[in-house]
């Protein structure tokens, strides 16, 4: 035991002291913080008020556009050719041109501008015109004004989860999707990154020929486990550093620019509200605040379960794959030969990434269930499901299967490893490796 500890220490210390580790530990959080902060600022920067000049040849829509906080409308009393020439000198950002319709109502409208008009403006104009057109057509069909205004009522769909005790909580599908995606991807990356490190470490010992010196002092299995565990600690250290540093940077930036950010965030939340329901227009936000709904959804997530299971799948997913990567490293002499053996290991991992969307679409469906039970895909697939809520028996069963597979496959890998590390020369075939496993 004492000796395994020595190996763990060496594996950990040599890696943590590497320049690449230190750079990754600093660069990662900076990038992640930037990913969280920059879009907010970009949104704020693009937040100037746009003025739209209207040239309406049809004459239907002069009154259709209400000014909002971000978009101002003004009718330009000139024809479109003049308007196109003059709009900039008249300090308009763009010209909205509604040509004379071929039939009763126009079916085409144009925006002329030197700069990109932006999603917000386009959506607003489109929905305003559609609303107006609908009203007009309904009027033409003889529908009374009361009925028309009654039709404008928007349905506000809110998803509420009920647990066994009858407690109700707001839930957000988008939030769950994002959370699951981020957690699953980080597990995937860590398994890949640190699994490969295990393989490289084994190869390094083999090619530098230090392996025989070491296994005359320590059992090959101890060496393998020491290496896998040591590298697991490196991974956990990196994760911890990332969480702490990212949190630190984000809080620092937030506290420095707190007032500005608050505005931006509120606006962001409004915008998210609109985007989730494209037919909404701005007045919907008057009915209720999406922000508070979003916040209550965040608070409703069971972070204890998420963090606990994230750490579990992070660790055991890595341990399972780490043992397999160690076996691959031991079986060959150089990195180019690893390709053939890495393939079958990485296919289930990639499968679990590819199926994230399908799992998220139906988190309780059969695909999601089976992928979260198979140990090679469960670390990623289960993480996608967890934010949506997974029955405890499934979570427990999946964890049990993963733990048992870890024990089983580490045992297999140990057998391959024990023989493989002393084999030089020809790349072994699968048949030979199978013989190594059977070899007592």
């Amino acid at each position: 035991m004492n000796k395994i500890w020595l190996v763990i220490q060496r594996e950990y210390l040599t890696r943590v002291q590497k320049k690449s580790f230190i750079i990754m530990s600093i660069l990662g959080p900076v990038l992640m913080a930037a990913l969280m902060i920059v879009p907010v600022y970009l949104a704020k920067m693009s937040d100037e008020v746009k003025t739209v000049g209207i040239v309406d040849e049809s004459g239907f829509f002069i009154e259709a556009f209400e000014n909002t906080e971000k978009i101002k409308f003004n009718v330009m009393h000139m024809d479109i050719d003049d308007a196109k020439k003059a709009y900039e000198t008249m300090s308009y950002d763009m010209v909205l041109y509604i040509p004379e319709p071929a039939y009763t109502y126009p079916s085409k409208i144009f925006i002329y501008s030197s700069k990109e008009p932006g999603m917000l403006v386009e959506n607003y104009i489109r929905s305003s015109i559609n609303n107006d057109l609908r009203t007009m057509r309904l009027k033409d069909a003889g529908v009374s004004k009361d009925v028309i205004s009654a039709m404008k009522n928007k349905i506000n769909l809110r998803s509420i989860s009920i647990d066994d005790t009858g407690k109700e909580e707001e839930r957000s599908g988008t939030l769950n999707l994002i959370l699951g995606f981020v957690l699953a991807l980080s597990i995937y990356f860590f398994i890949f990154m640190y699994g490969t490190q295990v393989m490289r470490g084994v190869l390094e010992e083999k090619t530098s020929r230090i392996i025989e010196v070491i296994i005359s002092s320590i059992k090959p299995f101890q060496l393998m486990m020491g290496k896998i565990i040591g590298i697991a600690f490196v991974g956990l250290t990196q994760l911890l550093l990332w969480v702490i540093l990212t949190g630190g940077i984000v809080t620092a930036v937030q506290s420095t620019f707190s007032s500005e950010l608050e505005q931006v965030q509120q606006y962001q939340a409004q915008k998210t509200g609109q985007m989730m329901d494209p037919s909404n227009n701005v007045e919907v936000t008057k009915d209720y605040s999406k922000t508070t709904e979003f916040l209550s959804a965040i608070l409703s997530i069971d972070f204890k379960v998420i963090i606990g299971s994230f750490l579990f799948y992070f660790l055991f997913g890595y341990l399972l794959y780490g043992a397999l990567f160690a076996a691959v490293g031991s079986a060959v002499d150089n990195e180019t030969d690893t390709q053939q053996f890495i393939m079958p290991i990485t296919i289930p991992l990639i499968l679990s990434i590819v199926s994230i969307q399908s799992v998220a679409n139906n988190p309780d469906g059969p695909l999601a269930f089976w992928l979260s039970m198979i140990p090679f895909t469960s670390p990623v697939s289960m993480m996608v499901r967890i934010p949506y809520g997974v029955p405890y028996w499934q979570l427990g069963l999946s964890m049990l299967i993963l733990t048992l597979s870890f024990v089983l496959f580490t045992w297999f890998a140990g057998k391959i490893y024990r023989i493989g590390i002393l084999m030089y020369g020809k790349k072994p075939s699968y048949k030979e490796i199978w013989k190594w496993i059977k070899y007592s």
């Binding site: 020595l6 010992e205 530098s208 025989e212 005359s216 030089y424």
Partner: protein, 304 residues
């Protein structure tokens, strides 16, 4: 007393039988040479003694006890295929390897410093291994092998990679370790070194032990009763005076006088040969020809 006894060791890899019923007895305090052509099974036997692999059948007794994982601390092993972590610092790495053998960190550091001074590699303590020359890396490996003062030292082709000066240094070191009470097993192809430093040898060929014993006894057994003579005068004398059962194997003229090799029917006749020669000529050299280990080796292996 024998420090290490291997009894009827057999080991088969897939279809290849690496060792077939091999037994060796390594006397305590001896330097024991394990000889044999490539692929004979020497390294397999050494790996079994080091508990890197287990034998299919047979047993190993070390110091009176069956081989046990705790014995690792009593064995120092320098494998033929040896290396170090390239990216690790020399000192750090030596400490790590010494600690794996069971030394405390403090002991490891203090003893390593002494050895590093002795071998003139102290300035390299904080350098990375990849900056070392091959010879220096070999020195580090040698130091680490013997640092924990093991009772049994096993060297697999220890001289490969050393220049002649360092080979002598290493040889002296091995003899010194033996004198301090260590038992040394070493496997080699270098027969000259076997004659110089080995007390006992075992010859392994095609997975079987074909010869074992002390070097002097083996050479005695393999001598053919031939004697070398150098004398003044001319060779005709020999044929005239020697009895017919004294065979002249070889004769030639040298700068001063003649040289002959004569095969005697029995060692007792050596005195008779001398007496006859003394009557007729002036003897300058007389010696029994004892076969070199190299001859015995080639002889046994090709015969087999």
């Amino acid at each position: 007393m024998d420090l290490l006894v291997a009894e009827n060791i057999s080991k088969t890899f897939a279809k290849h039988r690496a060792l077939n019923n091999v037994s060796i007895n390594v006397p305590e305090g001896s330097i024991y040479g394990l000889l044999g052509p490539n692929g004979a099974g020497k390294t397999t036997l050494i790996r079994i003694i080091n508990q890197i692999t287990g034998p299919d059948t047979g047993s190993i007794i070390l110091n009176g006890e069956p081989l046990h994982p705790n014995h690792i601390a009593n064995i120092g092993y320098l494998p033929e295929e040896r290396g170090l972590y390239k990216k690790m610092k020399v000192g750090e790495q030596a400490i790590y390897l010494a600690m794996l053998k069971g030394l405390s960190k403090r002991d490891a550091i203090s003893q390593l410093k002494v050895w590093f001074e002795k071998y003139d590699i102290a300035p390299w303590w904080d350098k990375k291994v990849e900056e070392l020359s091959k010879g220096m890396a070999q020195k580090v490996q040698f130091i680490v092998t013997i640092l924990h003062k093991p009772k049994l030292l096993i060297f697999d082709e220890p001289f490969s990679g050393f220049d002649p000066i360092n080979q002598e240094l290493l040889k002296a070191e091995i003899l010194g370790l033996r004198d301090e009470g260590a038992t040394v097993i070493f496997s080699t192809h270098n027969m000259a070194s076997v004659e110089e430093i080995c007390d006992h040898i075992a010859l392994i060929n095609k997975s079987e032990k074909i010869l074992e014993g002390s070097v002097s006894e083996i050479r005695d057994t393999y001598k053919k009763g031939t004697y070398e003579l150098e004398y003044d005068g001319n060779e005709i004398i020999l044929e005239k005076f020697l009895p017919s059962n004294f065979k002249i194997v070889e004769k030639n003229k040298i700068t001063q006088g003649h040289r002959s090799i004569i095969k005697l029917p029995s060692p007792k006749d050596a005195n008779e040969l001398l007496r006859i020669m003394m009557e007729h000529t002036n003897i300058r050299l007389f010696k029994e020809i004892i076969p070199s280990m190299n001859e015995i080796f080639i002889n046994k292996v090709t015969q087999d």
